[in-house]
């Protein structure tokens, strides 16, 4: 793809922020202020933009902690934010270990079935029980994304590495 086609592609899909490469906590510190500003410039509904920003942070930290392709400080992946008439979309893509696919799929499918009451309950239960085995945070990231988004979808793509794709929509 030509550089200008790449540029036009991002514009055509409404992607106004895209970061691809090594994501570390340092990188997140460097970009989070800019992301916050850009989101707020597009929409001045603070409740909405805080949800968008919150989902962006969770998605970025998922890549930092769990991307299969790693460097010392973090993981390799792509995180992007787009905007259309419907609202915002936060997308994350990172390589993942095939072994974890089934467990993750089940976890995310369960969350998709839950209404806001169930999600709140799951969130509180996880807080009380502490992080599950293998978690590098509080084990709340996906529940938080499910709670703050209007809907989310996921996919596992073999291309030829296994990629995990997570898309969350945030509408007013």
């Amino acid at each position: 793809m030509d550089s200008h086609d790449f540029h036009k592609l991002l514009l055509s899909r409404g992607t106004f922020f895209c970061y691809s490469g090594l994501l570390s906590e340092e990188v997140l510190s460097a970009i989070s202020g800019i992301v916050r500003e850009q989101v707020t410039d597009i929409d001045n509904n603070e409740d909405l933009t805080t949800r968008v920003f919150g989902i962006f942070v969770e998605q970025a930290q998922n890549i930092i902690r769990y991307s299969e392709e790693r460097l010392a400080q973090g993981g390799i992946g792509t995180v992007a934010i787009g905007h259309s008439n419907d609202g915002f979309i936060v997308e994350a893509i990172n390589p993942m270990n095939a072994e974890n696919v089934e467990r993750l799929k089940k976890n995310l499918k369960d969350l998709q079935q839950m209404d806001s009451k169930d999600l709140r309950k799951a969130y509180k239960q996880r807080l009380r029980e502490g992080p599950p085995e293998g978690s590098k945070g509080a084990g709340l990231g996906f529940i938080e994304i499910a709670r703050k988004s209007s809907k989310f979808e996921f996919d596992f793509v073999e291309n030829p590495d296994r990629l995990f794709v997570l898309k969350a929509w945030i509408v007013p």
Partner: protein
């Protein structure tokens, strides 16, 4: 103890009788941020008869939620030991996320006096 806010951490003040925390909370390293606060709070609670806590958050991430959960547990335990503990969770009227978060934590507080305050 007084910590100035950064773009990822809130302003924190801890005195012998009160703790105030204000801003955004999604630290690079949640343990490095939270441990000194929890330790100092435990020390202050040990020797006080009453303690007041004010929280005014704009945003916190899911890793920090665990910190706040532990934080409130320390306060609730002190209240259960007979100390007079008052907590104010302040949220802006337009901020649904922080109102809901305040309600989430409120459910577990029985002995401490926990107030949700719209600002």
């Amino acid at each position: 103890m007084h910590l100035e806010s950064t773009n990822r951490t809130p302003e924190v003040s801890i005195s012998d009788s009160a703790l105030e925390l204000k801003g955004e909370c999604y630290p690079e390293d949640i343990t490095a941020f939270s441990e000194p606060i929890l330790e100092l709070l435990a020390e202050k609670l040990e020797v006080c008869e009453s303690y007041s806590v004010g929280l005014e958050l704009r945003y916190f991430n899911s890793s920090s939620a665990k910190f706040f959960f532990d934080f409130f547990e320390v306060l609730e335990d002190a209240a259960a030991d007979g100390k007079s503990i008052s907590i104010e969770w302040r949220y802006r009227s337009t901020d649904n996320s922080m109102k809901e978060a305040g309600e989430d934590f409120e459910e577990d507080m029985e002995e401490a006096n926990y107030q949700l305050v719209e600002i």
